[in-house]
Assembly symmetry: C2
Homo-oligomer: 470 residues x 2
C-alpha cells in the first residue's frame, strides 16, 4: 500500500504536472514545437505553461522564455521539441531549476548506435542523478485524460474520449493505431504512454504506476522487446494480479528484424519465449490490436466475471452461424437450455422457432424486439449460461432500434455481461454509442463478436491456470 502510494507520488509530476515548460515552442506550424505547445494548451491543462524559445516574445499568445534560466524555480514537466543534440544540456539546466519529469520526442539516440548510444547514456545519467522521470527519447510522448495533460505533439489527442483503459506502446505508430482502434470502438482512454527508447522510465515503471493508478481499469501493452526482463515480469505479474493486462507483441520475422534493429533499440527474441513468459505473468497476448481493443472494452465494462457459456439469440441466422463457428473452434460453449426453460420459451417464440441455443427467432424478433429480452431473461437464469449475446441487423430503415437499455438492465438483474453484435451499414455510430452508454458491449461484425467471446474465454483460462497467490 505504501509502495503504491510511493509510485503514484514519484510519477505524479509526469502524469499530473502542476506546470509545464515546452522547450522549442514555436509559432511556425511547420515546426514540431508548434504542435507540442498546441497539444498542451488544447488539453484543458489547468496549470502554468511556459513556452521556451531563444527569440522570446510571445508564442501562441503566451509569454515566451528565452532560456531555462529565465524560468521560475520548480517547473515540473519539461517537454522537449528540440533536436537530439540540444536535449541533454537543457535537461541539466532544467534539473537545476527543480524539474521533476521530462518527455523527449527526438530520435537519434540508442536506436542509431555509436554517438546515439553515448547521447542516450548522458541523458539517462542526468535524469537519474536528479530523479527526473523521463519518457522516451524517440517517442510521441504521453497524455492523461484525467489530469488533463497532453504531452504529445498531436493536439487532436486532447479530444480523446476520457476513460479507464491505459496504453503503453513501445512504438508511437502502433500507439496511434491503438488509439485509432479505441476511438473506433468508442472506448475511453486513461493514460497513454509512447515508451520509445525507455532510457529512464521503462515498462516496469509504467506497469507499477498503472497497477496503483485508481483511474486505470485495463492495461494494454505493445511490445517489441523488453529491457530489465526479470523486473518487467515481476511488475507485470503484480499489475496483472490487480487488473487485466493485455499485450500485442511484434517483431518475430526476418523482415521485421530489418526494420526493428533501427527502431527503438531492442528487438523481440523468440515468439514462444514471449508468449510463455507473458502467460506466466498473467498477461494475455493477443493476435492483433483490433482484438486487444475490443477485449479491453469488455473487461473495462464488466471486469473479469466468470462469463462461462454464452446464450446467443438472433433474428438472422447467417451472422449467428459465423459467430458460432468461431466460438466452437475456440472452445466456447452454447449450453443447451433445460427442458423446463425451453418449454417456457416455446410459449412466446414465433411459430417454427425452436428454443435452441443459439436461438433463431426469425424476422419476428426484428419487429418485436421484446423477444430478445424475454428469451435472454430465461436463459440467463441458467447457471452454465454466463452471458447473453444478441445479434441484430439495424439501420435498414424499417425495423426498430435494439432495446439496449432494457437488455443492459437484464444483465444487471442476473449479474451477467450482455453483448450486442449490431450490423448496421450506415448509421452505426449513434446506436453503438447509445447501447454502450447503457453498458451493453457492442461490436459491429459477427467475426468481431466471435473473436471477442473467444478472447474473453482465453483470458479467463489464463487467469484460472495461474497459481493462486497470497
Amino acid at each position: 500500500m505504501d509502495e503504491q502510494k510511493e509510485v503514484l507520488r514519484r510519477l505524479r509530476p509526469l502524469f499530473y504536472p502542476e506546470s509545464v515548460a515546452v522547450v522549442g515552442a514555436s509559432d511556425n506550424p511547420f515546426k514540431l514545437g508548434f504542435h507540442a505547445l498546441a497539444a498542451v494548451t488544447s488539453s484543458g491543462f489547468q496549470g502554468q505553461v511556459y513556452p521556451l524559445n531563444p527569440r522570446g516574445g510571445t508564442i501562441q499568445g503566451l509569454k515566451a522564455y528565452r532560456s531555462v534560466t529565465e524560468l521560475p524555480q520548480g517547473v515540473e514537466l519539461f517537454v522537449y521539441a528540440v533536436p537530439e543534440r540540444e536535449v541533454a544540456g537543457s535537461l541539466r539546466e532544467a534539473a537545476a531549476k527543480g524539474a521533476r519529469a521530462a518527455v523527449v520526442f527526438a530520435g537519434g539516440f540508442l536506436e542509431i548506435g555509436g554517438e546515439g548510444r553515448r547521447r542516450q547514456e548522458e541523458l539517462a545519467g542526468i535524469a537519474r542523478e536528479y530523479g527526473i522521470g523521463l519518457v522516451g527519447p524517440n517517442c510521441i510522448g504521453m497524455f492523461n485524460t484525467h489530469a488533463p495533460i497532453n504531452a504529445t505533439f498531436a493536439s487532436p489527442l486532447s479530444f480523446m474520449r476520457k476513460g479507464r483503459v491505459s496504453l503503453v506502446s513501445q512504438s508511437g505508430g502502433v500507439g496511434t493505431a491503438l488509439l485509432c482502434g479505441l476511438t473506433e470502438e468508442m472506448v475511453g482512454v486513461g493514460k497513454f504512454i509512447s515508451a520509445g527508447n525507455r532510457a529512464v522510465l521503462g515498462f516496469p515503471d509504467y506497469l507499477e504506476y498503472l497497477e496503483a493508478d485508481p483511474h486505470t481499469s485495463v492495461v494494454c501493452l505493445f511490445l517489441e522487446g523488453v529491457e530489465r526482463a526479470r523486473e518487467f515480469l515481476v511488475k507485470a505479474r503484480e499489475c496483472a494480479a490487480a487488473k487485466p493486462v493485455l499485450a500485442v507483441c511484434s517483431g518475430f520475422t526476418g523482415s521485421a528484424h530489418r526494420v526493428a534493429l533501427s527502431h527503438t533499440g531492442t528487438a523481440a527474441t523468440s515468439e514462444t519465449v514471449y508468449r510463455g513468459s507473458l502467460a506466466q505473468a498473467g498477461i494475455l497476448q493477443l493476435e492483433d490490436i483490433g482484438r486487444m481493443t475490443r477485449l479491453a472494452k469488455a473487461l473495462d465494462m464488466f471486469g473479469s466475471p466468470p462469463y462461462g457459456g454464452a446464450f446467443l439469440a438472433t433474428h438472422t441466422a447467417g451472422p449467428a452461424i459465423i459467430i458460432a463457428d468461431i466460438c466452437e473452434r475456440e472452445g466456447i460453449r452454447f449450453p443447451r437450455l433445460s427442458e423446463e426453460r425451453a418449454a417456457r420459451m416455446r410459449k412466446f417464440l414465433p411459430r417454427y422457432s425452436e428454443p435452441n441455443n443459439p436461438l433463431d427467432m426469425f424476422a419476428q424478433a426484428w419487429t418485436d424486439t421484446s423477444l430478445y429480452l424475454r428469451s435472454a431473461d430465461i436463459a440467463l437464469e441458467q447457471e452454465n449460461v454466463g452471458c447473453a449475446v444478441a445479434l441484430f441487423a439495424s439501420g435498414l430503415g424499417a425495423g426498430p432500434a435494439f432495446p439496449a437499455a432494457e437488455f443492459a438492465e437484464l444483465g444487471r438483474k442476473h449479474g451477467k455481461p450482455v453483448f450486442l453484435c449490431l450490423i448496421a451499414p450506415m448509421n452505426l455510430a449513434g446506436e453503438l454509442e447509445e447501447a454502450q452508454r447503457h453498458k451493453v458491449c457492442v461490436v459491429n461484425s459477427p467475426e468481431k463478436m466471435g473473436h471477442l467471446l473467444s478472447d474473453l474465454a482465453a483470458y479467463k483460462r489464463l487467469r484460472e491456470a495461474l497459481p493462486r497467490e497470497g
Copy 2:
C-alpha cells in the same frame, strides 16, 4: 458469347426492370410493404412503379392498385411484401399479366419443412412454368446501383456507393454485414443479391449472370451450403476464369448447425470438401468478411496483376513490423534492393536510414513526404518488386497529408499497384476517400494491410495452380 448475351437478356427484367409492382405496398411505416415501396422509389428508379394494396387509393403519393388484375399488361418485376401464404396465388395472376421477375421476402417455405416445403414447390412450379426469374423466398431482396433499382425493404441501400463489386449472399444478415464492410472500406457495389432459399434462381444462375455482366469486376459470395453442386462448380469455374470470385463459407460446427438447420434449408457439409471444391473452381475462400471486403477492393482497383514481392516504406517502424510479421508468416517476400538501387537511395535518405526493405525513413519522411515517392520510384524499377506499400500515421495535427495523387502516378508509371496503410485516429474518412479516388488502395490498420497483402498472394497462388484452359 451468345450464351452470355442470353443470360443477360433472360435476367434483364430482374436487374434492369422497366416497371415494378410492389405487392403489399403500404402507407404504414410499421409494415414491410411501406419500406419495400420506399426502397424502390428512393433508388432513383426511372420506370413505372405500381403499388398494390386491396384498399386502393394512393400510397406514398402514388396511385395504388387493388389487385394484380387491375394492372396493365407487362409489368416486369413483382416485389412481394406479403405473408408467405399470399405469394403463390398472386404470382400466378402476375404471370398471366406477363411478369418476368419476382422478389419474395417472406420466410415460411423450405426452411420450416412440411407445409413450407410444399409451399416452396408450388411457388417454384409457377415461376418455372412462366419463366419468371425469382429471388428468394426468405431473403432481403436485391439491388443494382447501375439500373438503378432497389428491390429490398431497406431504403438506405439506395444510397450505397455505385461500383463494380457484386455480392451474392445466402444470408440476408451476412449480406448486410458485407455491405457494411464495403461501406466502411468505401468500395462501390454493383449488384447485391440476398439469395435466401433459392427456390428458382440459385448460385449457378447468379454466377452465370455476373460472369457476363460488364458492370461487375469482382464477385463476393457468402455460402452456407450449395444446391445443384455440380452445376454450381461449372458456373463458378467459368465465372472465376473471367473475373475474381471470392467466398466466405460458414456453418461447419455443431452450434452453427443448430441455427442453420432452421435457416435457408441447406447446411454446410465438411469444411474441407468446401475449400477443396472452391479452390478447384478458382474461387478463393477467405477467413472472414472483412478480409474479403478488402481483397475485393484491391482486385477491383488493380485487377489481377502479378503483384510479386512488396516494397514497404515507413516513417514509423512499429506498424511496419506488424505488417512484416504477418506477411513473412504467409510467405510474402520483401525483396532486397539491388546494390545499385540501394546506393541511389542512400543519397537522399535521412542520416542513419539504411536502404533496406522494409525501409524505415524515420520522422524525416513524415515532414518530407517526397521521400516516399523517391524511394518507391527506385524500388518499383526492380523486377521482383511487384507493388509498393507506404505506411503513414496521419491526422496527428502536425504532419502534412500523404501525397496520394503522386504515389498513384508512380504506380501507373511502373504499371504496379500501390497501397497505403493510413493510421489516422480522428479524420480518416476524408483522406482515405481522397487517396482511393486517385487509385491508391488504402486500409487503416497494419494488421489489415498485412492480411490484404497475404490474401492477394493467396489469390495469385490459387490462380497459378489452376490448369490452363483453352
